[in-house]
Symmetry: C2
Subunit: 461 residues, 2 copies
């Protein structure tokens, strides 16, 4: 069973319950699993650390290519940070048109806060890729992650693109190479692939992503923040599918999926300059192209895309910098969705709540405190707070109607001891609900992010 979801208003749907059995199965692989997609990941020394002549041995891959044999419908969502990286600026108009063949992605340099040269470099990356692959520049999307404020080492990048083009292939290993190339502070690769039926045809969908720090995305298709998108990684995510679907419906399905997944995660509450999700659908599965939200096909496609997006988004939180605990904050009973969202984000981003999770401390006072200073309307005497294992309906309450229950301290400690648990908060004021996927705040996070003052090139990053 798929869990029930609540859609954010920016996705055009206030509530969305899905209790149908999952109609898809997990398969091995990632972005190269759908028909017609190839990928590669190579090392081209974007950080210019030097490698010894001709030897890349032991160096982390830092440039990826993803290519579709045929023109694909494309949809994208981008950071709403006003300080927005050059590759995002290059992609927004292309995603609005909604057609494409390839994506070039680098790690090690975000190409953010790099001025006019940065824009030239992002466009040059698309041009070089197009020229090497025999495409038009307009068919190539660009994404970057890494240090902020450092000019792109274009000679190395161009070499990397040539090398990556030579290495393109469609095995699961090629998808993994691309995934490794986009990772920065990630400790683990994040990839997924599924298979499901559309109109009798088997279609495949795969995805890769990276995250780790500067994670609380708030993405929109235009990179502009609608009033309804709450404020607050670099996270990059690339999803491929061989399903046939119109650009318009792919865009709608991606909006709905991201509203429930990437836009509902937080590691440290900082929204990046580079957040990007791109979905490519090349139609090579041969299904009848989905052209309406009515009917089973769109629903099946949406279910698949939601699953892929949510699983990748959760991987980002689980692998967040220094993270030892993954907590799903489930707020219900709010008067409005905006209240539910504000309440969930306030708890999910409170330094004091997050440090208590790290300590395995079932502290409810800090939770009430964070609810109380949120923009949500709450009434202390009505709030229930409880814990369960992920997705489990057996909730152990520490508070009912604002008052401590008879649950013992040791029982509550056990409830917050697992690496993953759900935090249930019922405001008991209405019927709106919202979830946030969050993590603890640890000494390792601080240690990792306090910077390396021996490295001048880290200035912006």
């Amino acid at each position: 069973m798929l869990e029930l979801f609540v859609l954010a208003p920016e996705a055009g749907v206030a509530f969305y319950f899905r209790t149908a059995p999952m109609k898809f199965k997990a398969i091995s692989g990632s972005i190269t699993s759908p028909l017609g997609f190839s990928a590669s990941g190579v090392f081209c020394d974007i950080k210019k650390l030097g490698t010894g002549k001709g030897s890349n041995k032991g160096q982390k891959k830092d440039l990826a290519l993803i290519l579709s044999e045929k023109e694909a419908s494309v949809a994208g969502l981008f950071t709403t940070n006003q300080v927005c990286a050059a590759p995002v600026k290059v992609c927004v108009p292309k995603a609005a048109i909604g057609k494409g063949r390839a994506i070039v992605v680098n790690s090690g340099n975000a190409n953010a806060c790099t001025g006019k040269q940065g824009m030239k470099d992002a466009i040059e990356m698309a041009k070089v890729t197009a020229s090497v692959l025999g495409l038009k520049e307009s068919e190539v999307f660009v994404a970057s992650t890494g240090r902020i404020g450092v000019p792109m080492p274009m000679a190395n990048v161009s070499k990397g693109i040539f090398l990556a083009a030579q290495n393109l292939g469609s095995t699961p290993g090629h998808g993994s190479d691309a995934e490794q190339a986009i990772m920065t502070s990630d400790s683990k690769p994040k990839e997924i692939a599924i298979e499901f039926k559309l109109g009798g045809k088997t279609v495949r969908m795969g995805g890769i992503c990276k995250g780790a720090g500067m994670i609380q995305p708030g993405m929109s298709p235009t990179g502009k923040r609608p009033a309804s998108i709450p404020l607050h990684a670099t996270m990059l995510c690339f999803i491929t599918t061989d399903a046939a679907i119109s650009h318009k419906l792919l865009k709608q399905a991606l909006n709905e999926s991201v509203a429930l997944s990437f836009n509902r995660i937080t590691v440290d509450g900082d929204m990046s300059t580079n957040d990007t999700v791109l979905a490519f659908a090349n139609g090579m599965a041969g299904n009848k192209s989905i052209a309406s939200t009515n009917g089973a096909d769109y629903k099946a496609f949406l279910t698949g895309l939601q699953h892929v997006s949510l699983e990748l988004a959760k991987m980002i939180v689980r692998d967040g910098e220094g993270v030892t605990r993954f907590v799903t904050v489930k707020v219900s009973g709010a008067k409005t969705f905006a209240d539910a969202d504000a309440a969930a984000r306030s708890v999910a981003n409170s330094s004091l709540v997050k440090t208590s999770w790290f300590g395995g401390d079932p502290n409810w006072g800090r939770i009430l405190d964070a609810l109380g200073y949120s923009a949500a309307t709450i009434v202390e005497e009505k709030i229930d707070v409880g814990y369960s294992l992920p997705g489990n309906s057996k909730v152990l309450y520490s508070l009912k109607k604002g008052q401590p229950t008879t649950a013992s301290f040791s029982e509550l400690c056990k409830a917050v001891a697992p690496r993953e648990f759900d935090l249930h908060i019922n405001l008991n004021l209405g019927r709106s609900r919202a979830w946030m996927y969050s993590a603890d705040l640890t000494e390792e996070y601080v240690e990792f992010n306090k910077g390396d003052v021996t490295d001048p090139s880290s200035l912006g990053g």
Copy 2:
């Protein structure tokens, strides 16, 4: 010279520049320095840790009394957290009337999230104090700080009030006893006293406060959040003066002072359930009572109160949990005050910016990132970022118009190495400005706040 200040709109003044020479001098002491005030601080085991029969030796004081010989004008500001402690609820209507004689304060228990019993206990604290000191219950204000969600140990509290009443005195030591009694995770006492002239008469003003964690106050006189008060300690502050001033003007002066001081600090971005500032003015200096904002007397009084509030507020940030660096975030050139405030708070609360301060890393990419996701309108290509020693006009810029300057990495590292520095951010879009007093995020903060799961009584706190 006093530095220039910018008032928040909630104080009714958009800009406020004060460059007149300081008209007051620092004196030793605190709340007992003004004529007619006595204080005490005692240990009564509010945490009920046990003390061994009859022996308080080595135990931290946990109950304070402050008494004015004569009826004083009173003004107060209180947390706007919707989860608001019982003593705050008891004080709000009393502060609105604006007359009082005494304050009873305890540490170790916040009397928050304690339901109806909590309200009874807060009122009982005022009643017991009134009865011991021969006052009316309406003349006694109450404040608490400590664990959330634990019932008040009223037998111990009552014993404490009797003991504190016996120990009242007017020496600086008595003020310090009261200060020690209100401290929780504070590592240092925070007290100040000044002397200045009003209409030829010498008047005195003194203050004590406590802070350390759960610090980003947003206080209002009613405990209700006006739209203009930005969202986001327990901090308690008690200010006494022997100046004569009407309740109405004391309230206005306190609003203006808190808008520039306590409401502009952050340690961890969490706003407490108990934040309280109370000012008592008993008129015993014999000046002609200030009854109008026109004229030199109100201005002199306001200048003094602003100085006392700001110095105490800064002490709270400097002594924040785990703090190693104190940073004044000075945003200028914003289109509106709301923009300036949102920009300053976003930078002052960013986990990534705060960890870079801990590391002594002059990272400007994270600063631009935090500005970009704030609610403020910004234009990346217009932003200047620089550093100076506190209050120093010599600014070393790392960014001008969004682009790195020629300042070397080692120069920039030196600029962020001091324990205290100013961060200058000019948005170059308008004339509005706002400051925030902030601190770094350290491993010690995480270690301190991860909780003690061997202590069930810490559940709420």
